[in-house]
Amino acid sequence: MKRFLCVLIALCLIAGAAFAAPKTKVKIALIVESTVDDKGWCQSMHDAITAVQKKYGTALVEYSYSEKMKPVDAGSAARQYVAKGFDIIICHGAQYKNLVLEMADDFPKTTFAFGTSGEIGPKNVFTYMPESEETGYINGIIAGLVTRTNKIGLVGPVDGGDAARYNRGFILGVKAVNPNAVVQVAYTGSFGDFVKAAELAHTQIKAGADVLTGSAQQALGALRAVAEYKDKPIWWLGQDTEQLKVPESYKVIAAASYAYAAVVEQLIDKRQSGVLGGEVIPLNFANGGFIYKFNDNVGPVLTADIRKQAEKALADITASKLTIAWQSVK
């Protein structure tokens, strides 16, 4: 525990020291397909930008956002931001890739960013990629230790991007502590279909799963379904710490979150030092890109031993002593 805290404090200090305040005013725009209060994907980026804005003040960081932007509509919003002199336009989703590449050509002095993507973009395009196998691995360790049926349900949106990395990391985490456990992987095919996610969660539970996890907005539907088994030992591991604040949180053992502030700060930092793009910015525990929280109110299911093993994995990942070969999982 002490070692973990030391690493955490050191990282906080490094993170604090690594990014200086912007030298001149920077204008950041965010374009999202959902809403900035969706308790998931879009909110995490919005929260990060507002946190950075709060840190440096509105005099140095100006921020505006557009919600519910389908890729076909987002172009018009992005062009308006360019016309208004915004320096950095973040299109938060891989679905905006084509739009961003097109816009980047037209406006070479503006910095664009989109993610998740591991591709290196043009000179004025940054991409960002959460290495979410790390959060998945820790959740997997807890799931593998908590399960009594040795069946664990994974409610996936699609097998792509950071969701695919999370799922594979999760499977590796489970196998690391409980090789006999079976991870039942299934996908809804949608990031936002809450109803289908609930249906899949019920299917998983009927097939014997007693610990479930899932990512993207749709996961709330699955968590809601888990909460229907109020008096049964069926648990949830979250990929968003907002899930620790919802009424169904009594089923959530722990949850991770993306802390995009590290990405936003790097975008500002790099732009102000003359780098407009052409790089991939990763999110991981080591660079402060993830937050991990245990639910202290979940009860005896989260034993001291389980917590200790999860914390050890977290410390090892943060200190780069443990790398997760997520690509090895087919």
Partner: protein, 316 residues
């Protein structure tokens, strides 16, 4: 897991999940039988889902909590009726193109529901929702009991609605008028049937059922509300009307087929059978398309004047 358990699990999830589709497509059937197709079904469902959710959310810790679901369901029906009326005004009185008007209604309903939700609620949150009401004795019948007689009140109502709709459509004077104005409105007009009024009535009835379908999604199924809670089910409901050849029983069959196929594809994914999940996700949609394509007369048996506005003064 043996085959029987697998089948029971698939059905126990698929049957309740067919209810929203059944309600919405039955409503759409009334619209189309009267000669008007309403692509705004999705928007009405969104509004219905939101208004059904709100009382449950706001009243859950008050003395009115036991009535919250009923109030919500009534509100969903009322907003469905209002949207049906609005759609009738646009398409029947003003004779606007039905497809465009429907898409407009969809976007309006979806946008208003989402905006109001954010203004009054803020973020995604759950509600207790509807509880299952096991029917004494019947719910104890092995296999069938838990599948068919341990549902919530709206689900029972939806299944009872099937024979009721059939009776209304084929055995009552109003049903005859609805079919007449959708098939040959000029003849109906000549016989003294008020075509516009009948179409208004059918659209209001259809809207009420779409609103109810939305209520089922937020109170009976997901027990929460989110912007995209309907997630295309309104459009699937429209397709199921064609699939069901404008007949309530066939629409029931289509709704069950789609939902059970959905449940089946999720269940086989969970079993870990290795094949691309994209194909599994597609299965229910492909199944509906295949059955629709292979069913003779699936389009020709539709209401002859479907989609055509009626102009009494127009010279023939």
């Amino acid at each position: 897991m043996n085959i029987l358990t697998f089948v029971v699990n698939v059905l126990s999830i698929g049957i309740p999940f067919s209810v929203a589709l059944l309600l919405a497509s039955t409503g759409e059937m009334f619209n189309q039988r009267a000669g008007v197709f309403n692509l705004g079904c999705e928007g009405i469902m969104s509004m219905g889902a939101f208004l059904a959710f709100m009382p449950a959310h706001l009243l859950q810790n008050t003395s009115l909590a036991p009535y919250a679901n009923l109030i919500g369901i009534a509100a969903a029906i009322a907003i469905g009726a209002l949207f049906g009326l609005l759609f009738a005004l646009v398409t029947v009185t003003f004779r606007a193109p039905q497809g465009i008007a429907g898409i407009g209604l969809h976007m309006f309903g979806w946008g208003v529901a989402g905006t109001l939700f954010r203004y009054f609620v803020g973020g995604v949150t759950g509600v207790p929702g509807l509880k299952n009401l096991p029917i004494p004795l019947l719910s104890r019948i092995p296999i069938i009991g838990p599948l068919l007689f341990n549902l919530n009140g709206l689900a029972y109502a939806a299944f009872i609605l099937v024979p009721a709709s059939w009776y209304i459509l084929f055995k009552t004077p109003w049903g005859l008028k609805v079919r007449a104005v959708g098939t040959y409105p000029r003849a109906a007009d000549t016989m003294g049937v008020n075509v516009s009024r009948t179409r208004y009535q059918a659209l209001v009835a259809g809207g009420m059922l779409a609103g109810l379908a939305g209520a089922y999604l937020s109170l009976g199924q997901a027990k929460m509300f989110a912007d995209d809670i309907v997630a295309g089910r309104g459009f699937i409901a429209v397709a199921l009307v064609y699939f069901g050849r404008w007949n309530p029983y066939l629409i029931l069959g289509g709704s069950l087929l789609f939902s059970v196929a959905q449940s089946f594809q999720l269940a086989i994914q969970v079993l870990g059978i290795r094949f691309p999940y994209e194909f599994a996700v597609m299965l229910p949609y492909v199944l509906v398309i295949v059955v629709l394509a292979l069913t003779p007369g699936s389009v020709t048996r539709g209401p002859a004047e479907l989609g055509k506005p009626f102009d009494r003064e127009k010279r023939v």
